[in-house]
Symmetry: C2
Subunit: 527 residues, 2 copies
């Protein structure tokens, strides 16, 4: 059951006059529940509760925080069909996707629980004293990672579960010991409220302090701005557009005390098809890429929006094959009328650029809120000189750039904005002949893929989801995988601190049996 209210800590609250509804894009109607945007007082109260909760939450053991994260996973599973139904009604996405994303969300929560229950992630580092050292004695110094403080998480439109209320940012921040305030995404406020109720239940069952989690409704930009500017907030996680992410980054940078904003923004995910691969794998590549471009109606940040090859018969053939495959695919529903509106307008903007050719723009009748998949092509020189063509068109859209030679290809890659991924399609033993292409590509992206597709972001320790600006605001961190916990922590040193007062992670007797760097040797030994 939807109350439509905010969670200010563990209390439902709806004191404001501003309300809104979510939308079912498949049925093309508004959903019934009414959501109430948080007031300035409610937002302030959520931050103050988070600050108060931080005093105790930051010092809670990893094992106890792990119980909290596992309890969130359990409570989300207990929501069962109610969650799947509301998810589908607010996104137009099919049930299979809802269940898959729920599995990913549960998996993320449990992997962070495992990480912090074990505990070595705090990178405990100990240098013992040398009282006899000349000319001056050496102190005992011990370092570990500690949480930053309250974190604000902005839910993503395209991942209502895995990158929203209890998604990767929230799981990582709670695991680190940071209270979380979620700015719920208005397009799936109902899914958000349900998941928030699961988090609150889990917090109560595992005796977490009130304020460790709040869920804030909003339909405009004011609520998010107030949260980012609040002096009690110490970091921000965001997944969405470049425009939105940059606005938050600017607000955070202009604070009296600037705070880190980890925004995962847009990407066109260049795919480079080398000449021999183009010759020998043409048809199978066309099938693979038709699927990747239209997967989930193109609503993935790793969608391949840019394919690059050397001009010639093989590339012309590929364009023909790819367009044949793309028209075979049934159009599908986008998340919201605003999303399809933006898709159509950005697509038109791209198409209207001089010297761009539309290869295919799906022409059959389609339902409201369904997207027409679109393939375009342009010469390398034109692409290089027109930055508008580099902009992401969020949806089932891709552009094939026909480069006159390898030098132009390298020049295009070197001049691309920062990207989440880059893909190299090569025939056997072909890639080794293009070291400069690979080097240039590596310099512009966070992850490179060999003979695959960029869509599909595996949640595992070796994954980097992030990259040079504007694909993210801080390429020094990944947004996916257990190492994403590093966004929400800082190193902290204790000098000559009494053993009895040290946190367990740094005590002589190593009660948590952590792997620690002791006098420059990694060891699980006691001191």
């Amino acid at each position: 059951m939807q109350s439509g209210k905010n969670y200010i800590g563990n209390q439902l609250s709806a004191k404001g006059p501003k309300t809104y509804k979510t939308f079912n894009p498949q049925l093309n109607i508004e959903n019934a529940p009414i959501y109430t945007e948080a007031t300035s007082d409610e937002i302030n109260k959520a931050v103050l509760l988070a600050l108060e909760a931080f005093k105790t939450f930051r010092a809670i053991s990893g094992k106890q925080k792990a119980r909290f994260l596992n309890a969130i996973a359990d409570e989300i599973l207990a929501l069962d069909d109610e969650l799947i139904k509301i998810y589908c009604s607010e996104t137009g996405l099919p049930e299979g996707r809802a269940k898959g994303e729920r599995g990913r969300t549960i998996g993320q929560l449990r992997s962070f629980a495992e990480l912090i229950a074990e505990g070595s992630w705090v990178e405990a580092t100990i240098d013992t004293a040398q009282p006899e050292r000349q000319p001056i004695p050496k102190s005992d110094i011990r370092k570990m990672l500690i949480p930053l403080g309250p974190v604000v998480v902005f839910g993503a439109s395209n991942f209502p579960l895995a990158y929203s209320t209890a998604g990767g940012d929230t799981a990582a921040a709670l695991a680190a010991g940071c209270p979380v305030i979620v700015k719920s995404h208005p397009m799936h406020a109902g899914t958000g409220e349900l998941v928030a109720s699961a988090i609150i239940k889990a917090a109560e069952k595992t005796s977490m302090p009130n304020g460790v989690f709040s869920n804030i409704n909003s339909s405009g930009i004011e609520v998010g701005a107030q949260l980012v500017k609040h002096p009690g907030v110490k970091a921000v996680g965001f997944t969405g557009s470049i425009k939105g992410g940059r606005a938050l980054y600017d607000m955070a940078a202009q604070r009296e005390e600037p705070i880190p904003v980890f925004a995962e923004m847009g990407s066109i995910n260049p795919v480079i098809i080398l000449p021999e691969a183009l010759q020998n794998k043409n048809e199978s590549l066309a099938k693979t890429y038709a699927n990747s471009i239209t997967l989930g109606t193109g609503q993935f940040c790793t969608n391949p929006g840019l394919l690059l090859g050397i001009k010639g018969d093989a590339l012309s053939n590929f364009i023909k094959n790819l367009s044949n495959e793309i028209v075979k695919i049934e159009p599908s529903c986008m998340l919201h009328p605003n999303i399809i509106g933006a898709y159509e307008s950005k697509k038109q903007n791209a198409i209207s650029q001089p010297n761009l050719s539309v290869v295919i723009d799906y022409e059959n009748d389609i339902q409201p809120n369904y997207a027409r998949q679109t393939l375009t092509t342009v010469e390398g020189e034109i692409f290089l000189s027109n930055p508008t063509l580099h902009q992401e068109v969020f949806g089932p859209f891709s552009m094939i750039v026909q480069c006159k030679d390898v030098d132009e290809l390298e020049q295009i890659i070197s001049n691309l904005e920062g990207q989440l991924t880059g893909t190299l399609i090569a025939d056997e033993d072909e890639a080794e002949h293009y070291p400069q292409i690979i080097s240039a590509l590596q310099n512009r992206v966070g992850r490179i893929i060999y003979n695959g597709v960029p869509t599909g972001v595996e949640v595992c320790p070796s994954m980097v989801h992030g990259g040079p600006y504007p694909s993210s605001t801080d390429s020094r961190f990944t947004a996916v995988g257990i190492h994403s916990i590093k966004r929400w922590v800082r190193p902290f040193s204790y000098q000559d601190w009494p053993n009895a007062l040290l946190p367990s992670e740094l005590k002589n007797e190593n009660p948590l049996e952590l792997s620690r760097l002791v006098n420059n040797v990694q060891t699980e030994a006691k001191l």
Copy 2:
């Protein structure tokens, strides 16, 4: 011999009209050599050379980069007395300090060399493929840290060797694989040029690409601004004032592509003296702190500028003892007339605040550019309500805050701006009765010290030099110790990449014998 020119890569260059000289504060005269500020063209050329050098330098092996760093250390040592003499003539600091700081600089270079020659610092992480996994196969993904690109380092006024030309920022950035452009500090341009010549020699001897290092002269703010705004620059290191650091941070945040600025700025390093310690260690504490406050004429960022205790006879006694000890100390020379000018003006600004008492302001005759050590005191309530009193007075200055009770003490700590360090002075078994004081202090600082002094920053893996804003612009990183290399790198993933094309760090056969995280187990094994 001083040329007074810039190093634009390995070429001496002086094309601009603007010149300046350094100053000998002990003799109170200008030094003879004339330095030429870099022109806009020279700056641009240095960045373009760095970008070109990055293409090869980023892929050079750790062992070869280690040879480069060790060669820099060797070449600095080979400068011998010439370096020590120019250092002293440009700073007013004694020879012992010059030699000590040279030792620290050499030690830093060699410790980074050791780190990268071993190589495990890249945090190689491997998740192997699971082609049979249902519902979809799992790719092979491998991650490691890679360099960001050209880094600009601003030399610090108070550490002409250890935090300037070949100091911690430069050593860490070169170790990471980033070319470095140093914006030389105008107060010690001669020391800077000599050290730069050592780096250039080392680069040539170890066959590093031209552009891996440049040294840029400047006397004003324009040169630094042009460097920070240049699209080819990917990160910035700075040690200095809050005003200077914040200005660079703002410039970097406003770029089309924002870049990280790691600025280590001001700190007043609160010292909390608990009641029993005040009672029982009064005289020895006074001696210890008189020395710490005046060490190096108070020109350390960890200088104890704020002492906090509970009002009463013991604190009054301590104030008397401390002032007796402080007047015994011979005044010493500051770095530059501008530094002593700033000291006097900030001191006067503090002293002129209402309800502040001056305990001691050294009154005897002193030489030009020598600083009068000063001790002040104020009631807790006054300190709490007047942020001007929280500002750093860079020099031999400290303020004793007399709190009415423990609650007020906690409130003052909680309301302090971010600090590099916090110190707790406690008698035996006393600290455990003040968990809230310790918790509040931890939340505002990067390092806490027990029964010691904040001055003296040990270079070791467990050291954190950094802290919440404004002590640094990014508390997630330390500026001292081998882990400071993490400021200049980003994680990068290879997906299904052919073993032959992977970097050595990630190859199946583990040719570098690194410790790697393979399928979530830390191991040195081959795959």
